[in-house]
Amino acid sequence: MVRNPLSITERIRGAVAGLISGPPAAPLLAKNHAYFQQLDQSKPLEEYEFAVVDTELTGLDARNDEIVSIGGVRIRDMELDPSDTFEAIVRPLGDMPKTATLVHRITPQQVKDRPGLEDVLPQFVEWLGTSFMVGHHVGLDMRFLNRACRKVLGAELKNPGVDTMRLAQVYEAELWESYYDRYTLNISYNLTDLTERYGLPAFGSHDALQDAFQTAYLFLFLVRKLKQGGIHTLHDLYLAGRSWRWYL
C-alpha cells in the first residue's frame, strides 16, 4: 500500500505557492491555503486524506447559531483510522437553547466549563490539516466552521468538501438507471435512514464523533459502490457527481 499523502515536491511547491500568493490571512491557514491552490485531481483516492467531520449546533441559523461540538475521524489510504479522531465540546457565547439540547443531549451544564471556540478552532484546523472535508450535508458544517474561522483566525478554510448526502443522491439515481426500477421519490437522506437502507454498521447518533464515524462508513460505502466501483481518482469522484459543486 502506498502511504504518501504529500510528496516532498508537492510540499515544497505548496510552500512556494504560499509565498508567491502573498501573505496569508492567518499563519495557521497558510499551509492550508497553499496546498489547495494547486490541487492535482488525477491521483488515486488512496493518496488523499479525508477528514470526516460533523458538528453539533445550537440551531440551524448560520448567522446567529453556534457550534457546540465538533467530531472528526480520518480516512487515509481509503481506510478509516479510528484512532485518528478529533472531538471537542465548545462553550457557545450565547445560551444553549433547549431545543438543541434535546437533539444532541449536550446540556448547558456540560458546556459551562468547556473552552470557547477561540481555543478549540486552532486545534481543529491543525488536526484537519490538508484533508478533504467529508460530511453529511457538509455545506452546513462548513458555513459554521468558516464563519468561526473568519472570526477567530481571520480567514476561511480552503479544504474542499465532499457531501455524502449528494453522493447518496447520485448513487440512488444510478440504482434507478441501472435497474429500470421506478425511482423511489420518498427516500430519506437522513444519515440514520441511509445507514439502515444500505445495511451499514450503526452507531448511536447525535454525538458529533459518532456521527462522524457513521458518515465515514457511508462515505467508504458510496465511493466503492458508485459507478460500479469505477471511482479511482479524485477526478472520478468529481465527475461522478457532476451535478454537485465542490465546496471550494
Partner: protein, 645 residues
C-alpha cells in the same frame, strides 16, 4: 497519526467502537484491557463491495488480519484446472488470513466478499505483536477446534439454562459421595443370627448392615428389606445372617460424584451403597441421602416408576423427566451425563411397562429380548425421542410353540408400544418397532436379516438399517442380544463394502457452513431460517463413530463410548477424536438446552435452532463443530475411497 483532542469529554473511550468489537470477538475478547486498547488503536476500517477478491491463494502476501465487521466472505481454493472449491464462509466476527499470519507464508486460500463487507483490519505487525504476547491468540488461528473456547461456550449454555425458573438447585454434580456418606458402616460378623442383625439395626438406627468374615473383609450387605423378606417367608430368626445377605458388595469410591452413586443405585436397583476409601469400606450412602440432598430428584422419579403398580400410572410419571433434566442442565451436567440419565429413566419405565404387562398376560411361551435401537440404543435420548425398537424371540423347533409365541408376542408388543406412546414416546414413523412383524423375529431370523444387510448391502436399506447397528438389550434375555452381536461383528469386519455403505451415510449431509452469517439455514418449510442440529450435526458424528467402531469390532454403542474406544486403536488420530468428542458434546448440549427452553415454553421440543438466537460464542463454537464434521467426512472419504462429492 497523532490523536488530537481539543477537550475530550471521555478520555480512553476511543476508539470505542473498535474496542467493543474486539471485546466481543474471539479470541481477542479474552485479552486484558491494555492489549485491547493497543489493538484497537492500530486497527483500520475498510470497505469492500460484494464480489471483491482480496486474497489469492498462494500469491497474496497477507498484510493484515481481516475481521468481518459486517458482511460476509467466502474462502475457496482453485486447482490447476481452474475449478473452485468452496472451503468456508466467514460472517460477522469471522477472521480471514489468521493462519497465514501466524504460520507465515502466503494466503492459504483465496478470499472474496459475498456481501458488501466492512472489515476491521489489524495490520500484520500489530497482530503478530499480540500473538507474541498472548500465545492463545495464535493457537486460536492455528488450531482447528479450540477447546479453550468450547469450555467457554459450555459456560454460556449453562448460564442460559440458568435463567430458567427452578427452585432448589441440585448438587449431584458438585458434591462427592464422601461428603454426604454416613460412617463408619455398622458391621455384623458372619454366623450371627438374623435376629441379632435386626437388633443391631434398631440400636444404630440404620437400614443396612455389612457382613464381615473373621478376617475383617466385607462379604455382603443386609438391608431392612431383606429382614422383611425373612418374616414374609417365615424364616427362623436364629438362622445365620449370611443366608439373606446380598453378595458380592457393590461399592462406590468416596471421591465419586453423587451423580455416579445415583447411577449405580438406579442401574442395580439398590438403595444402600457402601463407600470405599482406597478399597476399604469407610461408610454408607443411601438413596435417601441423595433424595434429601435435593428436592426434585431423578431417584425419586425412578422410585415412583418402579413402585407403580398399574401401567396407566406410568404415563404421568414420564412427563416429569424434563424437570429432572432441567435440574441437571442447570447444574452444569454435560450432555453425555444427561442423556445417560434420561436413558436410565426411560429404560426403567420400559422395564416397568414390560414387567406389568407380563403379569397381565401371563408368562410367555418362549423367552425374548427387547432390543433398543437408534438413540435409545446409543443411550443418547433427549426429550421426546421416537421409539426405535425390535424384539428377539428364542429359536424354537416345535411349530406349535412357535405359533403360540407368535400370537403371544403380537399381543404383547402391540400393548408395549401403545403404552409407550401414551407415556409420550411417539411411534417410529418408519415403523421400526417390535409390534411390526418384520422386526419381531427369532434369533436365527435376526442373524439372517443382519447377514443379508451386511453381505448384500443395498444403499437404501443400509441407510434404513444403520440404526439397527446401534442395538442393545432391553428387558428380557440380554444373552440373545449378545449372541446376535458376536455373530454379526466378525461379518462386518470382513465386509468392507458394507462399511463403505455405512460411511457413505455419514457423507449425506454437508456441514451447513455458508455465507449467510456463517450458516446455511433451511430455506423453506416449517423450519425456515433454522438449522437442523440433528441431521446436520449430531447424526453425521454418530454415523462416523458407528462405522469406525464396527470396523474395529467395538461392541460399545454410545457415540462417546465408541469414540473413546476408537482413540485407543490409533486408526483415527487422537487429535481428531478429541475434536469430534468436543464437537459432539457441544452439539448435544446445545440441542438439550434448546429443547429444554422449548419445553419450558410449552412447545414440542424439536431439533431446529435459529442461528440468530445464539450468542457469538455459541455461533462460533457451532461453526467449529461443523468444521470438525467436514474433517471426519474427508477422513471417511479417504479411508473408504469414497469419491462422491
Amino acid at each position: 497519526m497523532t490523536m488530537h483532542n481539543g477537550d475530550r469529554s471521555d478520555p480512553g473511550s476511543q476508539p470505542a467502537m473498535v474496542l467493543s468489537f474486539f471485546k466481543r470477538t474471539l479470541p481477542f475478547s479474552g485479552l486484558e484491557a491494555r492489549s485491547l486498547e493497543t489493538l484497537a488503536s492500530q486497527a483500520r476500517i475498510d470497505f469492500l463491495p460484494a464480489g471483491t477478491r482480496f486474497l489469492t491463494q498462494g500469491e497474496s502476501e497477507v498484510e493484515a488480519l481481516h475481521l468481518v465487521q459486517k458482511g460476509g466472505v467466502r474462502l475457496y481454493t482453485r486447482d490447476e484446472t481452474g475449478r473452485e472449491t468452496l472451503v468456508d464462509f466467514r460472517g460477522e466476527g469471522g477472521a480471514v488470513g489468521g493462519m497465514a499470519l501466524v504460520q507465515g507464508g502466503r494466503a492459504r486460500l483465496s478470499a472474496e466478499t459475498v456481501e458488501d463487507t466492512f472489515f476491521i483490519k489489524v495490520p500484520k505487525a500489530a497482530f503478530l505483536a499480540v500473538v507474541e504476547k498472548h500465545p492463545q491468540v495464535g493457537r486460536f488461528y492455528a488450531r482447528a477446534f479450540a477447546e479453550e473456547y468450547t469450555a467457554l461456550a459450555f459456560e454460556e449454555l449453562k448460564e442460559r439454562s440458568g435463567t430458567l425458573p427452578e427452585p432448589g438447585a441440585l448438587y449431584l454434580m458438585g458434591s462427592r459421595v464422601g461428603e454426604i456418606m454416613h460412617g463408619p458402616s455398622v458391621d455384623i460378623p458372619m454366623g450371627a443370627s438374623i435376629q441379632k442383625a435386626a437388633q443391631l439395626m434398631e440400636e444404630n438406627r440404620v437400614g443396612s448392615l455389612l457382613v464381615v468374615d473373621p478376617s475383617g473383609e466385607h462379604l455382603g450387605i443386609v438391608t431392612d428389606k431383606d429382614l422383611r423378606k425373612t418374616i414374609a417367608v417365615g424364616m427362623a430368626p436364629e438362622a445365620p445372617v449370611e443366608i439373606i445377605m446380598s453378595s458380592p458388595l457393590s461399592t462406590v469410591d468416596e471421591r465419586a460424584v453423587c451423580f455416579d452413586a445415583l447411577m449405580a443405585m438406579m442401574r442395580q436397583e439398590l438403595h444402600h451403597l457402601p463407600v470405599t476409601r482406597a478399597g476399604k469400606v469407610v461408610g454408607m450412602i443411601t438413596a435417601h441421602d441423595i433424595v434429601v440432598m435435593q428436592g426434585k430428584s431423578p431417584m425419586a422419579l425412578f422410585r415412583e416408576i418402579t413402585a407403580q403398580r398399574d401401567v396407566e400410572g406410568l404415563y404421568d410419571l414420564s412427563h416429569r423427566t424434563p424437570q429432572v433434566i432441567r435440574a441437571l442442565v442447570q447444574e452444569g451436567a454435560k450432555a453425555g451425563h444427561i442423556t445417560r440419565m434420561i436413558t436410565v429413566i426411560n429404560d426403567c419405565l420400559l422395564g416397568q411397562v414390560v414387567k406389568l404387562l407380563l403379569k397381565q398376560l401371563g408368562p410367555p411361551p418362549v423367552e425374548f429380548c427387547w432390543l433398543l435401537m437408534g438413540s435409545e440404543g446409543r443411550r443418547e435420548q433427549t426429550f421426546k425421542t421416537d421409539q426405535d425398537n425390535a424384539i428377539i424371540l428364542r429359536d424354537v423347533e416345535d411349530p406349535l410353540i412357535a405359533r403360540a409365541a407368535g400370537v403371544y408376542y403380537e399381543a404383547f408388543t402391540e400393548r408395549v408400544i401403545a403404552h409407550l406412546v401414551k407415556a409420550g414416546f411417539p411411534p417410529c414413523p418408519g415403523g421400526i418397532m417390535a409390534s411390526n412383524p418384520k422386526w419381531r423375529l427369532s434369533l436365527a431370523k435376526w442373524k439372517q436379516t443382519f447377514e443379508r444387510w451386511i453381505l448384500k448391502p443395498d444403499p437404501e436399506e443400509v441407510m434404513h438399517a444403520a440404526i439397527f447397528f446401534d442395538f442393545r438389550a432391553g428387558p428380557g434375555q440380554a444373552a440373545f442380544a449378545e449372541e446376535l452381536k458376536s455373530y454379526i461383528m466378525p461379518l462386518i469386519q470382513r465386509q468392507e463394502v458394507f462399511q463403505r455403505h455405512l460411511a457413505a451415510n455419514c457423507l449425506q449431509n454437508k456441514p451447513p457452513l455458508s455465507f449467510f452469517r456463517g450458516f446455511i439455514v433451511e430455506k423453506d418449510g416449517q423450519h425456515k431460517n433454522q438449522l437442523d442440529l440433528k441431521s446436520r450435526g449430531i447424526a453425521p458424528i454418530a454415523d462416523f463413530a458407528r462405522v469406525i467402531a464396527l470396523r474395529l469390532g467395538i461392541t460399545e454403542t454410545s457415540t462417546l463410548g465408541r469414540l473413546e474406544a476408537i482413540s485407543d486403536d490409533g486408526i483415527v488420530s487422537r487429535d481428531l477424536i478429541a475434536e469430534v468428542h468436543e464437537a459432539y458434546e457441544f452439539l448435544m448440549q446445545l440441542r438439550l438446552v434448546h429443547q429444554l427452553a422449548q419445553w419450558e415454553r410449552g412447545e414440542d421440543p424439536h431439533n431446529h435452532v435459529a442461528p440468530d438466537s445464539l450468542t457469538d460464542l455459541e455461533k462460533r463454537t457451532l461453526k467449529e463443530a461443523f468444521q470438525v464434521i467436514g474433517r471426519i467426512q474427508s477422513f471417511l472419504k479417504d479411508l473408504y475411497k469414497l469419491n462422491i462429492a
